[in-house]
Assembly symmetry: D2
Homo-oligomer: 384 residues x 4
């Protein structure tokens, strides 16, 4: 992506030396070649922030001690950041996002949006009031095949959705939990940092979001069972959810972070009355389409027969695989397009750009909180 | 399978010209080459029974008008049948099985065992009292890979089961339902013939059974949601079940007979604390084994590294696919082995032979009735 | 397959206790339920023949010491066999087939037809002269997906073939060779029993045949390289062939019986100017169809959209896998249909029935001999 | 990848607005975040070069009319480029590479190295004489799974290679050829730009290289058949090669750019006497390992059980797919590591860094020329 537009500037909250996802955000933005990192508060330990800043070539005056610090000082600069990227532990999403929104700075926030429905509502209100752009980095919505699925659904290829089946088994947490001691925990095992829900918030929100992203359907109520399997943390690491959507469709979600032998096997099946779409994150270059009385079809990302809505994101030719970094990059490309339009003074309707919005974030927070409520109340239906 | 033992004799209830599964039972028994069909009451329409009998070369004196007729008359012959095969609509399983058991004749019965837990308990009691052998033809337990899965589990390869995930999407019912009129219904759409549950009894029992067959685990309670999607019958054709097993493991079942684009995609995943086993009916020559921190392995039926418990059923060499007929045949081979042992005067413990027993049948009936109860009571936990 | 036609009678040459493939022939015929084995010369060791005959319930008067013996005596019976099945080591195919043809008895012969082009021409001449039916059991032509591929090709779906790519890796011979001693060899390691070519005759002929069966194309010339890898026999166990077809298409064949980790991975790709068909023996329930600028399609055996030419062979519903035994059975069903028609006095054109004929056998023998010639002459083009 | 080392500088020859691969080179280098583009001669049309330079933010003084111009002027700057990237049509690789080597500037060159063995030998001589680093961007060697395959081979996991089977079907050229007119051709259809060989040079060299990269084996002689299928160009677009390696192993290569329905299905199988490794470019996150009498294993890139030689290139966690851009990036990372070491005054043995070297380039050019010679001489063995 070579371009002549002015380069955008961004600052990052979190993403310091110990944090994995910050590097992935930065890589995606580098691949896009539209925005440069110019500010950072990468860690609660300022020394670590300074170290990361040096590695990234950030000038000293834009290395900040906190999100408040960055929001405050950047908002006063003429060359201020065009957006802040928040990739901290979940508990800090809310205060950080709030700080930037209040200063009128666009926000990109890792998922889940925040910990509670009240926080979510507050952020939603702030976004509406300030007119700031807000992007939630549900990575998987950035896959070309996610965009293709959305286009197929919108064209009516699979008809009306009747049931959805989503699974997301991983096993990385299994080893992590067994190695944990009282002193060494990842933040995902610490309720104060990750909130009431662990897996249900971490991967459950991806599950809810992807269906909603592709189809626009919204969950009305959930019935959930959460489990803490094995030794280690007492937070949920395996869950089952039955859901009801606003069009009457049912949903069936299984997520696990202690499923031995699965890497990151997020898989979504959307079953309509005319056809079925299957998306598998680990095989992201392909989409499976099942139509009535027809051979199963495998759609290959980037093929001439694909929809413009997905083809516009092509980086490498069909058959030359793309992956997670490109998906992340596509979310950012969609977002930066909105940023440019806003800079150009255009009216921006965020839903038109293809990135996950604050509204999706609100639904995700309601979703995982309702699941926890359902579980705590004895596996009963809880409305979102 | 060439052999010198005396050939066994069987009679069949159901399996007439309109019924598909009778042919498959007969094919499987032919492939085994141990038993000959010598008696039949193939249809409630005696003319159809006679027609089928002629095609099968059954002598006139052993063509019967009903199961009572066959049970009565065969029981008085010196060359009486060694077992009766019941492959009627579900509602007739109970009376037919009862008739043969009461006459001391071994029974092979298609699944589900019967319609209600009371019927099931009665049949179980009769089996114990009479000492008759009783085989329930849950076909999928006959796959060499099912036997291999059982051997692996029993060796402790995957450790203690913590959660199971079972899915069974089909779409054949979709077209069938849309073609139905008031007059033309398959028996599966008629409660009087198939009982309270349609899909939950038909495919749901396979799902419950397979897990139980491989692991010996028993479900303690279920929480189920049943749906009747699309036009046509009002019986359930799509369902979701959360289950709790007697070892504390959870289960997650999705079944559908209106899932567009799926043929018969029964898939079972058994997740233990050391590893995961995956069985896919449509890919029955292979078993997937996932162990901690190891590459995913694909076990190929009939390989030298397989367990004797599966290798003993080999018919074609590794790499030369077997399928549904062999699976059916293997269930019958296991059963006929018990029949021969009983004829030889040996003490027979049915659990040792590898075929699904009356006890499994009882659990299946309890399972699907509990699911219906759970649904009818508002998706609450119901104990089996 | 229940039916009212008179049951056919067959005799078997080979297929005794040590021979694997005889059992598979008999199983396939049992599954079909059209023909009964009534005569046999199962082994060169008459005691073994008698043992097998007892197991199969063959009456003493029809147990023969040799193929000559069976041909002679059966030809004089009024209830003589309807066909002879030859499943001996390759070297005996020719004399056995000749003996039956000369007595006017239909023949089913395992592949390859015989050892030399001269023998092949002689058998071809005898078939034409006697009007006997002759079926060569190239099993893979019996898969429903092979019949479907043929129907698709004939409909022009993939256009004109431009190149074909066929591979056939196995590894069973690897262990066998390493265990061989001077005394213990399978007949496949003994030139006097298997002829000049080992793997090229055994699996190479399957490769040549399948392409020819589906497309009708004939190879004009070959350029081959044969290798004897590893320890053990000096006969070929790994080969590469470049071929030219009569329509100008090229072919590329790789076969190996010492390819570590492959069971029986026969795979054929037919590349036309409009599309590509892929057949994989190990995944025989599916066929892959690739069309220009279209998603790759997976055709599922037995689906409503399939051609009548394949659907007529359906035994178990779509999604309920069939395998090697059904394929064998389908070859026999095609053949027995011709036998019945001939018994009914109809004019029989063997090409219309779908089983591999003597002409295909002739081409196979020419193919593998030409490959050996090409190799022996220094990898040069040799015409068939 | 954040780092503190001084950023490297590079210039690019080719890669202007009409050329696809230049963007991919630049994206890969951006992702790596080690080197910045500071100079360019992107097109033979200087106006296009200037346009691309503007888009890339290159200062005017470093926008050059030709590779000679760049080599000459950069070599005199104190802040001269650390390496030149050549991604022109094949015919210009030789003069461009020569120009930079003669000025002592390190070179990265797209494949194939050049058109003739003489050119290749000359470049090889220049590299040795000047001590310049030389990297040939055979992308697929950059996949983590390629590095893993190499590590497995070197550990002896698959033993001694006995045969290799490589295929590379694509279909993009099919449509391109049919759209061509006398005036509109891609350079790949113009011998003056792409040399004697089209597909054999373009994808054939990838095939030869990958085997050699992983195993170190070298081809001694080839026997090739080249074809120009369909309408359009008369250059080769489908080929078959039989090869002999220096250890006695045989090779079998099929490549096609007119294979309907294949995107970029490069697949390599290395068959040793202990096991087999399979690499599939389109499924680059996995490697298939087949060992004797063991289940087939699927190695997942980035797993804890992988070798350090592959794990060092991890960018996204296991189960989060990487693709073509990362592979390209990894080749550059290997190369830049050597550049840094050379800058640090270390002795650099290019073979230690993992990127494809000039020697591999020489072999590739000899390979495809020998294939063309073999074909032109009537499909005979030709030594490299």
């Amino acid at each position: 992506m070579d371009n002549l537009k002015r380069r955008l500037r961004y600052g990052m909250i979190g993403g310091g030396p110990s944090g994995g996802v910050g590097v992935i955000h930065r890589n995606a933005l580098r691949l896009n070649n539209e925005a440069d990192i110019v500010a950072g508060a990468f860690s609660r330990d300022f020394e670590k922030t300074r170290q990361t800043a040096r590695e990234l070539g950030i000038e000293e005056g834009r290395v900040y001690v906190s999100h408040e610090d960055m929001a405050e000082k950047e908002s006063r600069r003429s060359d201020r950041i065009d957006f802040a990227v928040i990739c901290t532990p979940n508990a800090f999403h809310y205060p950080a996002a709030k700080a930037f929104l209040q200063k009128g700075i666009n926000v990109v926030c890792d998922k889940p949006l925040c910990l509670t429905p009240d926080e979510a509502a507050e952020l939603q209100r702030l976004v509406k009031e300030t007119g700031c752009l807000f992007c939630l980095t549900h990575t998987y919505t950035g896959h070309m095949t996610a965009r293709e699925a959305r286009a197929l659904y919108r064209k009516g290829v699979i008809g009306e959705i009747r049931t959805v089946v989503v699974e997301y088994p991983q096993d990385w947490l299994l080893n992590a939990l067994e190695k944990e001691t009282g002193e060494t925990k990842t933040w995902r095992s610490i309720p104060a940092l990750c909130g009431r829900g662990a897996s249900i918030a971490d991967i459950g929100t991806h599950m809810e979001n992807f269906v909603s992203y592709v189809t626009g359907l919204r969950i009305e109520k959930v019935l959930a069972n959460l489990e803490a399997l094995g030794q280690g943390t007492l937070l949920d690491n395996n869950f089952q959810v039955i859901a009801k959507y606003d069009n009457g469709a049912s949903g069936f979600f299984w997520g696990s972070q202690v499923a031995v032998g699965y890497d990151n096997a997020f898989k979504v099946r959307l079953l309509g009355d005319k056809g079925t779409i299957e998306f598998s994150q680990e095989d992201n270059n392909y989409l499976v389409l099942r139509l009535r009385n027809r051979p199963v079809q495998r759609i290959s990302r980037g093929s001439a027969y694909c929809a413009p809505e997905s083809l516009q994101y092509l980086r490498t030719p069909v058959g030359h695989p793309e992956g997670h970094t490109e998906a992340f990059g596509n979310v950012y490309r969609s977002f930066c397009e909105a940023v440019y339009d806003k800079l150009d003074g255009k009216t921006v309707n965020e839903d038109d750009y293809g990135y996950p919005t604050i509204d999706m974030g609100v639904r995700g927070v309601r979703f995982f909180n309702a699941c926890i409520d359902s579980h705590e109340q004895g596996n009963v239906w809880v409305r979102l």
